[in-house]
């Protein structure tokens, strides 16, 4: 991988990747059983996205 070129990701792609990776790590660290891990990962991912998009819209009135 040539990092010197710079990896191009959109805002949404960056947020999705970030949320997914952190959710997976949290799920594996905080739960033992596979089914519990999956539930935790999905729930955490949804909250990450919901709160991220929510904060984005909350900042919208100040963007202009």
């Amino acid at each position: 991988m040539n990092a010197g070129m710079g990896l191009k990701l959109s805002h949404l792609q960056s947020m999705l990747l970030f949320a997914l990776l952190i959710s997976i790590a949290f799920g594996f660290l905080s739960r033992r059983q596979p089914i519990e891990r999956v539930k935790y990962i999905v729930w955490s991912l949804l909250l990450f996205l919901l709160i991220g998009v929510g904060i984005g819209w909350a900042m919208y009135p100040f963007s202009r």
Partner: protein, 152 residues
């Protein structure tokens, strides 16, 4: 993936039990020393602390998530802080980046073009790198606590 904490363990490998059983002072001291070693190993190489305790799935996921965050962060040309920072935020960023252990050197090697935070991607990359460090510190702390016999 099978959960590693369910597998039966030998008497000397009971570091993942739910509660700490009382032991002799010598055993406690030895366990504490091992816990420190496991914690430091987990910091130096993401997932190594869990791997030493045969918690394979957690070790693999820690390695992969921290590694992916570092590669993405460096690929997006995020700012990798150095020890020669100008203010407290730079120092905090350096501490966070150092949390990735040896992956800090990997990020340095990947960022041949240097950081570029003039666009949003570079700024995201900076956050990815810092998050990788903090996540690895959390993982190392988790491994340390598990090695001490706390619930993990």
């Amino acid at each position: 993936m099978a959960d590693e904490t369910i597998a039966p363990r030998a008497p000397g490998q009971d570091s993942t039990r739910e509660t700490t059983a009382p032991g002799t002072p010598l055993q406690d001291s030895r366990r504490e020393t091992m816990a420190y070693i496991i914690g430091v190993a987990g910091w130096l190489v993401p997932g190594l602390g869990h791997a030493l305790m045969k918690m394979w799935s957690r070790a693999t996921m820690c390695f992969l998530t921290v590694g992916t965050l570092v590669i993405l962060g460096a690929g997006m040309r995020g700012n990798l802080f150095s020890s020669r920072g100008n203010d407290a935020f730079d120092a905090l960023g350096y501490l966070a980046d150092l949390g990735t252990g040896t992956f800090y050197l990997l990020a340095r090697a990947l960022e041949t073009g240097g950081a570029d935070v003039s666009h949003a991607g570079g700024d995201y990359g900076t956050r990815f790198l810092a998050t990788a460090g903090v996540l690895n510190l959390l993982s190392a702390l988790h491994a340390y606590e598990a090695a001490r016999g706390r619930k993990a």
